[in-house]
Symmetry: none
Subunit: 397 residues, 2 copies
Amino acid sequence: METVLDKLTQKNDKKLLLLVIDGIGGAPYRGKTELEAAYTPNMDRLAKSYITGVADPVAPGITPGSGPGHLALFGYDPLRYEIGRGILEALGVGLEVTPKDVAVRGNFATIDDNGIIIDRRAGRISTDLNRQLCTRIQQEIKTIDGVEIIVKPGKEHRFVLILRGDKLSDKVTETDPQKEGNPPLRCEPLVPEATHTAEVVNKFVDATRKLLNPPANFVLLRGFAKHPQLKSMRERFKLTPAGIATYPMYKGLARLVGMDILETGPELEDEIETLRKNWDNYDFFYFHIKRTDSLGEDGNWEAKVELIEKIDKLLPDILDLHPDVLVITGDHSTPAILKAHSWHPVPVLFVSPYVIPDKSEAFNERECMHGGLGRIRLLDLLPLMLAHGLKLKKYGA
Amino acid sequence: METVLDKLTQKNDKKLLLLVIDGIGGAPYRGKTELEAAYTPNMDRLAKSYITGVADPVAPGITPGSGPGHLALFGYDPLRYEIGRGILEALGVGLEVTPKDVAVRGNFATIDDNGIIIDRRAGRISTDLNRQLCTRIQQEIKTIDGVEIIVKPGKEHRFVLILRGDKLSDKVTETDPQKEGNPPLRCEPLVPEATHTAEVVNKFVDATRKLLNPPANFVLLRGFAKHPQLKSMRERFKLTPAGIATYPMYKGLARLVGMDILETGPELEDEIETLRKNWDNYDFFYFHIKRTDSLGEDGNWEAKVELIEKIDKLLPDILDLHPDVLVITGDHSTPAILKAHSWHPVPVLFVSPYVIPDKSEAFNERECMHGGLGRIRLLDLLPLMLAHGLKLKKYGA
């Protein structure tokens, strides 16, 4: 399908806007989902005039992480492409990753005098101490055997390591035994080509030991991952795409598929202003709203409802730009009652003069599951956006 | 997808109950399907409170046999795996089958002095006589050319033959011409590697002739099949599964995917009692009700409606066990007006505290086709059950 799709794309000046309300999908609490409880006259009016449906980010029953959810949204099959944990973490702390890199997730940990791990998180050291340790490591360890070493702190005990060099491999074992009371593991190659990488990893671990003191006297490494090297959206879909997001991971995901990342401020109003200012320069916008997901994960049903209401209130500012195709959906559901991502298909609101309006009366899970789009794969959404933007040629004669 | 799914499964104590009403799906007779005509207040109440949908056992338009329908229900792609008739029969009579086996369906038949088949079922001899004949054959024929011979009676004229040995093949022709007035066929290899197997089969047929008298004076063999060697549900889904069924074939199907088969009586009440007694010992129950299908195949619309009403009446006894996830569906449709399995997608009723209730008002084909689950593949059902039982980890970070 992907090969067929890519051959059909054509450039025009229609503007597509993909509004991703992260974790938008909910589940009933006192009989109503977050979207059902929220007062959303603008989205409801669009649902009445256009069409809705639901979409499975990966497949029915599968709960996706942000990586697979976004891959699907961007038109990349999440069962075919995988973004390794290390890459996601690197993107999350705002590191640029290149095809030469192996990215790794690191933990500061505590080991005792016998070399046994007694705390995999070093007592959750402060982010400040983490920053100091990463600075010290970065200053002392710049290269190992010709491989560039990049270390960047995350929150508390978490940091990201990037190995940058030729012929590196992510086919190595993790050093984190994932359980306290065990010694850390040596990094071993899983294929012969990874021998060099494993050596560099072990030398890095050894070198850090001299720089670290309790409680953070050891580093545990896992989630070794190479850059997925995706063909860009420009190349595949003949789009000129831009991403507007406030959190590093989502900027990184957008960068992975070749979007320009637009500088913006922390608030929804800032993102809308960024969209407005750049409206003439692109024909595809990925607009990401993060906090709905965070509030869902916190189990804060009320605040998620209020945020949805705020988004709805600001929606006219976006509609004023008159996108030719507007899709409002999520990368996955995050019901506040579950305090986590879930498998529930995401509600989809699809706006274009070329849709055939369905019987939807409002934008929420219950209306969407009976919507005219039916139950589709999230991966089907981008081709539908391209089609409604008249950006797809006929297939076959 | 299968590989991805299997990696996400995790054990917990949530209990999943898959209630398979065989051939439940119907078609209108005087304007109403069997499910529509039946008075089913309990299922209708569940449909109102939870969610419904329809599922294609194999693909739209494809009428499945019991094998493919059940494979899909159990989470095994029926287009990828095939269960040969002989294997189904062998499992059905309670024979253990191993990867070394070729299983065959046998009929006792009557041939005349000219070697022409005059009754393919030997006048449907009694099961008692069948047992005597199988015992005689088994006593006299224990091995042929180093291949172990196992014979076990089924009902009336049916028996199962297992050839157990090295390098056996199921790529051989059947000896049953499927039509009276013809001579039986010799077994021929379809590939060179099957020459040995065909020889053993023909020697078996010849050897039995000396042991048999009219009316059951010949054996017809068909459905040669090797064990499909499926990974078990325990291994794939980390479930501890049990099957409750009254008919041998369904016990066999459940055994094929590694379920424990629970001893039960012939009536629905017996099956419920078995479920109750074993409730604490398993976390997945396949509960099979056979007679709806038989009545559909008989074209007995009235009796099928009555049986559905009886099932509904007994449903509270099942609900009293409080399964965490309950799915009521079929392995295929068997509309009484067609007197056969059909291609119609099966209605699905899905009960879990984590579903987002849809607008369904009752449990029948018409409500289900507009239900909130949409039109899914029957293969998607088990992942959805696992998800609602919180037995699936997140896919990707």
